[in-house]
């Protein structure tokens, strides 16, 4: 068993975890980030990719709305490459709450959020897919953000400053001595290898799994899970973010992301964190509800669906707790639970991840007795090779620019070439062995219409040729990858996708007999 030492151990590689890693690294504090799966494997990778203007929360939570506005402005300034500053439209359709519609501008104004009324005709001109029944529309400052690029770039900068990232490293034990965690035992879920990490501070940024982690330190966090599912359309339906102008509810938001659009969400209370996947019922519900605002949702082709879990802390018992910085997110110092060097940060939104990281890092510094101040408010997020492959339609542009005849495409749908796969493998190797899913997370592999049916085989073959796979690991890798893709395809099996999956089954079962 290997032993590692570090100042801070962060558990959880979502936006918050990677954000904290970067924040600390910029303050000169080195850390290890341990993630049980991979970057953004949880809710950070299963959301809308929406950079809120705050308008959505003006009625329910003015404080969160203001936070969103401020953080949105900061991110647009400091991480422009992760953001498509699309602007947004809040649109109401006939039947929606008239009172809410009329109160909306003043509520926005109170929070300092811009909401410019436009007439229906203009709105329809800007976004022709809006329903004929639209009755009110406002222009807002919403934007879309690439959460994968964001987290990958955050981590990349932390790594460049001396921190490190461990993938598939699940925390299984906190060794507590004298009210302090002495070391944390990690297990590699792929190899079964165990590692002890001796850290001065442990930050629990495991998102929905934060409760599970805290449990390891015998601390109870009362968590409630809310599953949210989303669907991705084959084509980009709008230029802007479209948000239903009503009290925040299900199937409200359509966010453009590169060449596609993402529509969601649902909110379903669940009790466990196993088997989080979107269901047929959720998809059908969202489509029929969403079609009221954007009718084309009824007929357009979908590529896949996915689901994430929002971690909610039931604050009933802890009302007035001064550690809950805002109702948006929760920062818990477990000193009071008798574990001095253990902090939990959870809840919150992708938009406010930086603020969450800042507050957490502040607390870490207090614990460590370091007075370094936060730099992420001013320092731009650098663009690196680690994040560049996630942007839709970007890979083909880069490939076409190079025009190297030998650099053939391994993934046809999203046009990812051998050299791009090489670069992805290099990037993945920083935190463990490369595998299809690991590459997929860092790029568009498997995200096109074939959903991995063809590219999984081609990339696996290429990885064997490069010596990155051996024995029959490729078979399980392909199965694992395709199954993960399948979760998202399954609720959308009609029209062309059912043909596509029939072909996939004919190849992988009928011919390759991979199921045997």
């Amino acid at each position: 068993m290997a032993n590692l030492e570090t100042q801070v151990l962060i558990i959880g590689g979502g936006a918050t975890g990677t954000g904290i890693a970067r924040d600390l690294a910029l303050r000169g504090i080195k850390c290890i980030l341990a993630e049980k799966d991979d970057i953004n494997a949880g809710a950070s990778g299963a959301n809308h990719g929406l950079l809120h203007s705050g308008s959505r929360y003006v009625a329910s939570d003015a404080e969160a709305a203001i936070e969103c506005r401020e953080e949105g402005e900061i991110l647009k300034r400091l991480a422009p490459h992760c953001i498509d500053n699309t602007g947004g439209i809040f649109a109401a359709v006939s039947g929606d709450d008239e009172k809410y519609i009329s109160d909306f501008p003043s509520m926005c104004q109170k929070c300092g959020i811009s909401a410019k009324p436009i007439d229906i005709k203009e709105a329809k001109e800007l976004e022709p897919v809006l329903s004929e029944k639209t009755i009110a529309a406002y222009l807002t400052e919403d934007a879309s953000i690439d959460p994968f690029m964001l987290s990958l770039e955050n981590m990349a900068q932390a790594v460049s400053l001396g921190s490190s990232y461990m993938r598939h490293a699940k925390a299984i034990e906190f060794k507590i001595e004298n009210g302090k965690i002495k070391y944390t035992k990690l297990i590699n879920s792929k190899t079964g290898e165990e590692t002890k990490v001796f850290a001065e501070q442990i930050v629990n940024a495991a998102g929905a799994w934060a409760g599970e982690m805290a449990e390891l330190a015998s601390v109870t966090i009362p968590m409630v899970y809310s599953k949210g599912s989303l669907v991705i359309t084959q084509k980009r339906l709008t230029k802007r973010v479209i948000n239903r102008l009503r009290k925040a509810s299900d199937a409200d938001i359509l966010v453009p992301g590169g060449a596609v659009s993402i529509f969601g969400t649902t909110s379903i209370r669940i009790n466990t964190l196993d088997a989080i996947y979107p269901t047929v019922e959720e998809v059908d519900f969202m489509i029929s509800e969403g079609a009221k605002m954007v009718p084309i949702l009824e007929t357009t082709r979908y590529i896949r669906a996915y689901a994430g879990v929002r971690p909610l802390i039931s604050l009933g018992a802890k009302k007035g707790d001064d550690r809950s910085v805002s109702r948006g997110f929760v920062l818990l110092d477990h000193t009071e639970n008798g574990v001095d060097n253990f902090i939990t940060i959870t809840g919150g939104k992708l938009t406010t991840y930086r603020l969450m990281a800042e507050k957490t890092a502040d607390l870490v510094c207090r614990h460590l007795g370091i007075s370094a101040t936060c730099k992420t408010r001013e320092e731009p997020l650098p663009s690196t090779t680690h994040g560049k492959w996630t942007e839709p339609a970007m890979t083909p542009k880069m490939w076409m620019q190079k025009q190297k005849t030998d650099d053939i495409l391994l993934c046809e749908c999203e046009m990812i070439s051998k050299s791009a796969v090489d670069s992805l493998i290099e990037s993945a190797k920083q935190s463990g062995d490369p595998a299809l899913k690991v590459l997929g997370l860092r790029s568009r592999i498997g995200k096109g219409p074939c959903q991995g049916a063809f590219c999984s085989l081609r990339i696996a073959a290429y990885m064997y040729d490069k010596g990155e796979l051996n024995l029959d690991s490729g078979i399980s890798d392909i199965k694992f990858f395709l199954n993960e893709r399948w979760r998202g395809e399954r609720p959308l099996q009609w029209g062309t996708p059912i043909i596509q999956s029939e072909i996939a089954e004919a190849i992988h079962c009928g011919f390759l007999s991979i199921e045997l």
Partner: protein, 423 residues
């Protein structure tokens, strides 16, 4: 604009293996046959012909002898198409098919009347029954673990000899691999194009020269299935001659060359035996009184087909025989009753590779013993309509490995039933 009307006794709709087989059997029996379908269906097959290899699929139970497997299957799944045909029928059907293919210079064979294991491009083993003769060498070589060289080609995607070797490591230690650069290696390689290239002797010579140094102690060479299309037999024997070792082909991912060989054989030779075929045409509308009358594609220049009987072999979703919307599954030409009005949420399993298979794979058309489609009450819908092939219900061919067998056997039975009914 007046439309041309064509008349025939039997119209076969579909150009997959079931449609091709049905047209063949019909023409062989002197039935005036028209076939209509997509152009390219067979190039999406691997070129391997399954009879039955796995049953029950939940147990992943593999059968060496397909005929024994069929006996068990008939007892277990009463709705399976095999339960409506005798083993004798299946054998006769294949005999006729294989004889035809031999005459078209696409020889097929089986190995000791048993299921064989064919190496796939990812190194798994695919159990199947009839295989192109060019693959048979590989079957025995694997069984006898002969010293073997497997080659792949630079820039031929999805085929890595190394992967095959690694995946088969505990089954076949005597494997070596080599990567060969094919003719113009600067670009991406496509199996079909390589196959045509190799029909030219100068290219084959060049390839043999590239491979030769790697042979060493190997007694047999495994190569992706690219050894010619129409001139396949001569390309194979010439290569063996040039290299001095036996050569076997390893099937590739679609579009596959063995599938294209089948396609070309059928497309060219069926016409020779009198089948009038229209590929890349679609049925737009169908009327039925005593005869069926079909309107076939193309705005103002449509043509009509009047026929006494129809064999429906349109396949499933990819073939175009079935289509699905959010609520239901429909048969596309006659709007026939579909078995399995399951809700969409139970169409598919959560696990893509679930051993029991997806429910949707069992949906399809139910028929009587003559393959007349029936409705819910079990009544025959049209007594001159037959449904064959993968569109039939209770037939998870991808997991059972019974696709070609079901297609060929049901086509055979349906053609005979039509003949008997016609008197």
């Amino acid at each position: 604009m007046s439309r041309i009307e064509l008349k025939c006794d039997l119209l076969v709709i579909g150009s997959g293996i079931a449609g091709m087989a049905a047209s063949l059997f019909a023409a062989n029996r002197g039935i005036k046959t028209i076939q209509i379908g997509k152009t390219n269906t067979l190039s999406f097959t691997s070129g391997l012909m399954d009879v039955l290899a796995v049953h029950p699929i939940e147990e992943k139970r593999l059968w060496k002898n397909p005929w024994d497997a069929i006996d068990t299957l008939k007892k277990d799944i009463s709705g399976h198409p095999y339960s409506k045909v005798s083993k004798d029928t299946i054998e006769k059907a294949f005999k006729e098919l294989v004889a035809f293919l031999k005459s078209a210079d696409v020889p097929y064979a089986n190995y000791q009347n048993k299921n064989v294991n064919i190496i796939t491009p990812i190194g798994t083993l695919k159990p199947t029954f009839f295989v192109p003769e060019s693959m048979l060498n590989g079957v025995s070589a694997l069984e006898e673990k002969k010293p073997c060289l497997i080659i792949d080609f630079y820039n031929l995607k999805g085929f890595s000899a190394l992967q095959i070797k690694e995946t088969l490591k505990d089954k076949w230690q005597n494997l070596r691999t080599a990567q060969i650069k094919f003719l113009d290696s600067s670009k991406e390689q496509f199996a079909e194009q390589m196959a045509y290239d190799l029909e030219k002797p100068k290219n084959l010579d060049k390839l043999a020269k590239e491979i030769s140094p790697h042979i060493k102690d190997a007694e047999i060479l495994g190569i992706p299935a690219i050894l010619g299309v129409k001139r396949h037999s001569s390309v194979l024997s010439k290569l063996q001659e040039l290299l001095g070792v036996k050569v076997f082909e390893i099937p590739t991912i679609i579009p596959s060359v063995p599938g294209i060989r089948l396609k070309k054989a059928f497309e060219d030779k069926l016409q020779d035996i009198g089948v009038q075929s229209f590929y890349s045409q679609e049925v737009i509308q169908v009327f039925h009184k005593d005869d069926f009358v079909f309107d076939v594609t193309g705005a103002a220049s449509m043509f009509k087909i009047r026929t006494k009987g129809v064999i429906l072999s349109t396949g499933r979703f990819f073939g175009g025989g079935l289509s699905a919307d959010r609520e239901k599954i429909t048969e596309t030409i006659f709007n026939l009753e579909i078995y399995g009005p399951f809700l969409r949420k139970v169409w598919h399993e959560l696990d893509f590779f679930a051993p029991r298979g997806h429910n949707i794979n069992n949906c399809g058309i139910e028929t009587d013993e003559y393959f007349h489609p029936i409705d819910k009450s079990g009544k025959v819908i049209f007594n001159n309509l037959y449904a064959v092939g993968s569109i039939l219900a209770h037939n998870d061919w991808t997991r059972m490995k019974c696709g070609t067998g079901v297609s060929v056997a049901t086509a055979y039975s349906a053609v005979n039933a039509f003949l008997n009914q016609k008197g």
